[in-house]
């Protein structure tokens, strides 16, 4: 959000006169077979939503729920309708641009799993070259926005003045246990098996968690809830799914990424968003400004 806001200001600062020239100059060269690589996507229009922001919040020395914050999404978000499949990933492997996953790609319709942040980023780069478009991992708040009703609020609703830290641990543990027992089968299923949300995006919050490009952060608040300090740990990224899990970038099997009492994601996979090109962004921002 911050990134796009900054970009927006910058774009507005550019005079409209420069616009035509820039558009011509920045049109990327598109490979001739690009269409065959372009994934099925859904475009979610801009809007505002109320979001339980990501990160670990410490209020007055105690772990606390993250605040609900209204977030404005300025531009349409074009996102893959399905998680990247094994078959799709295999094309990147065949091109020598992606690392071969541990498990054989015998069932192409399954979502690719056993991929870490680096693998997912390599795929995004490869897909960008193949399609002549810009593909990247979503930000956590973008993922939450397009997930819509499938987004799971992970607040505990515990009294922030409670001085017993064990209550939060037990609440977290019980919720993880409930999640585990209600979704007992961790075997991956063909993409589309978990159904679509209101935007037509499939398999959100399935048993495959999705990498985002949002670095894990810790926010220290004072007793009144004002932010004193915020630290972001890049190298640990938020995996989005039935809950948000901070994952070290090289982890492929999330089981090993958990601590002794946490319930880790079943699998790690990903879906990408398309970064709009220059001219699209300008058009979107102008439309936004002019409310047309």
């Amino acid at each position: 959000m911050r990134r796009s806001a900054r970009l927006l200001t910058w774009v507005i600062v550019l005079s409209a006169g420069m616009l035509a020239g820039a558009t011509v100059l920045l049109v990327p060269r598109t490979p001739t077979d690009a269409a065959s690589y372009r994934p099925r996507t859904v475009t979610v229009p801009p809007g505002t939503f109320s979001h339980r922001v990501d990160g670990e919040f410490i209020r007055d020395g105690q772990q606390a729920d993250a605040p609900m914050v209204p977030i404005r999404i300025d531009a349409p978000v074009e996102v893959m309708a399905f998680q990247v499949t094994r078959a799709e990933y295999a094309r990147c492997v065949a091109d020598g641009a992606c690392q071969r996953p541990d498990r054989p790609e015998d069932r192409g319709e399954l979502p690719v799993t056993g991929v870490n942040y680096i693998d997912a980023s390599a795929y995004a780069q490869w897909l960008s070259q193949r399609t002549g478009q810009t593909w990247r991992l979503p930000d956590e708040h973008e993922w939450a926005y397009v997930a819509g009703s499938r987004f799971v609020d992970d607040a505990h609703g515990i009294d922030p003045d409670d001085r017993n830290p064990a209550r939060r641990w037990i609440a977290e543990y019980e919720r993880a246990a409930a999640r585990k027992s209600s979704n007992a089968d961790p075997r991956t299923r063909p993409v589309g098996s978990f159904g679509a949300n209101e935007h037509g995006i499939h398999d959100l919050a399935s048993n495959v968690w999705e990498w985002t490009r949002t670095c894990h952060r810790r926010v220290i608040l004072d007793a009144e809830g004002r932010s004193i300090r915020e630290t972001r740990t890049c190298g640990v990224y938020v995996a989005a799914g039935r809950h948000r899990a901070p994952m070290t970038l090289f982890v492929r099997d999330p089981k090993s990424g958990g601590c002794s009492v946490a319930t880790p994601p079943d699998h790690l996979g990903f879906r990408l968003v398309r970064q709009p090109e220059w001219r699209e962004q300008v058009v979107a921002s102008l439309r936004n400004r002019l409310r047309i």
């Binding site: 410490i58 993880a176 220290i220 079943d266």
Partner: protein
């Protein structure tokens, strides 16, 4: 031969005199003893599935009793993990491990062992706590469709392993889950190192099991249509001495999540832990063993304040702990690879008030 040797040393001279007399009186004495046992009060125990333990007295009231148990052997497929890995398990009473039996020192254990005709294999039971006949193994061999009753006297207080030990197939049966434990309590209950009485509010039984599941050429765990088909591959996997799974109570995660063990701050818990085949080293993350009988025998003084305790393969141990802080505790085999990669971990969920004196975060993490 032995008598001759003893005579030569001179030490066993009284035995030489006493032995013929005892031999002459033996049948009569045995008959008298049998009549005496017949007069003892009898109690029948309904066993419960681990990690729970059937109701019992910690301090025995009255004299020795004959305690009746019945266990039915069940051969069945069980699932070891979330990935659906299957093995044919051999079980005492349908569970891995078999149920924890509890009696007092001086009691007689009278076990009815049933091998239903739906099973395929011969089984028996070797009680490490019993004396003679391979722990009872030589007297309890039952084929499918048979049952037998064995009585033995509990002479040594402690927690002990029992397991199936059919000739030629002992390790296969043991690592297929066919083992459990018995607790023989001192009649006056547990004592600390100074003789002071120790009590527990709850007792849990954790049976740790190593499994050796064969894999196919691509590394996937194999499945078999019958016990017979699985035998050869399983033996080959066992001979690597490298388990594919090391789990508590029959399955990865059997004691976690909705099945986590529970307690409260101020409560004293006795954890009985057995491993019939392989060494283990229990550890309670964030807690301790207040009083530990690592090798499980109650005539030895308990060790105090342990961080980790060693239970050799083929042994049961007992640890007593009073919870002092609320929260989630992991109870693990502190070979952490076995705990977190192979499955040997369970959790305690403990309610209660936090004690700032024992621990408090003074500055938030930066």
């Amino acid at each position: 031969m032995i008598l001759a040797g003893a005579t030569a040393s001179g030490a066993a001279a009284p035995v030489l005199v006493a032995a013929p007399a005892r031999a002459a009186n033996a049948p009569a004495a045995a008959a008298a003893a049998a009549a005496e046992i017949d007069r003892l009060p009898r109690v029948k125990v309904d066993l419960v599935d681990p990690p729970f333990v059937h109701a019992h007295e910690q301090v025995a009231t009255g004299g020795p009793k004959v305690v009746e148990f019945k266990m039915t052997i069940e051969e069945k497929k069980i699932v070891l993990d979330d990935q659906g890995t299957e093995v044919f398990a051999f079980t005492f009473n349908g569970t891995v491990p078999g149920p924890l039996m509890v009696v007092h020192e001086g009691d007689y254990v009278e076990l009815t062992l049933v091998n239903p005709e739906t099973n395929e294999l011969m089984h028996n039971i070797d009680f490490h706590s019993a004396t003679g006949a391979l722990g009872g193994g030589a007297l309890t061999e039952v084929n499918p469709g048979e049952q037998t009753v064995l009585r033995w006297k509990a002479t040594r207080p402690g927690v002990f392993v029992y397991h199936c030990a059919p000739p030629g197939m002992v390790p296969w049966h043991v690592v297929s889950g066919m083992n459990g434990a018995i607790m023989v309590l001192p009649r006056e209950g547990l004592r600390d190192e100074t003789g002071k009485a120790l009590k527990y509010d709850r007792v849990y039984y954790v049976g740790e099991q190593d499994f050796y599941v064969p894999r196919d050429a691509s590394g996937k765990y194999k499945r078999y249509a019958s016990i017979g088909e699985s035998h050869e591959d399983t033996i080959a996997a066992m001979r690597t001495l490298t388990p594919t799974h090391v789990v508590f109570n029959g399955k990865v995660g059997a004691l976690t999540g909705a099945n986590a063990l529970t307690s409260k701050v101020g409560e004293t818990v006795l954890i009985v832990h057995s491993q019939a085949n392989r060494d283990t080293r229990p550890h309670l993350i964030g807690g301790h063993g207040d009083y530990v009988w690592a090798t499980g025998k109650f005539r030895n003084r308990p060790e105090r304040d342990l961080e980790t305790w060693f239970i050799p393969g083929g042994c049961a141990g007992a640890a007593l702990y009073t919870f002092l802080q609320p929260g989630i505790y992991a109870y693990v085999n502190h070979n952490l690879i076995e705990a977190f990669e192979l499955g040997a971990a369970g959790h305690f969920k403990v309610d209660g008030d936090w004690n700032d004196d024992l621990m408090k975060r003074l500055t938030p993490r930066a």
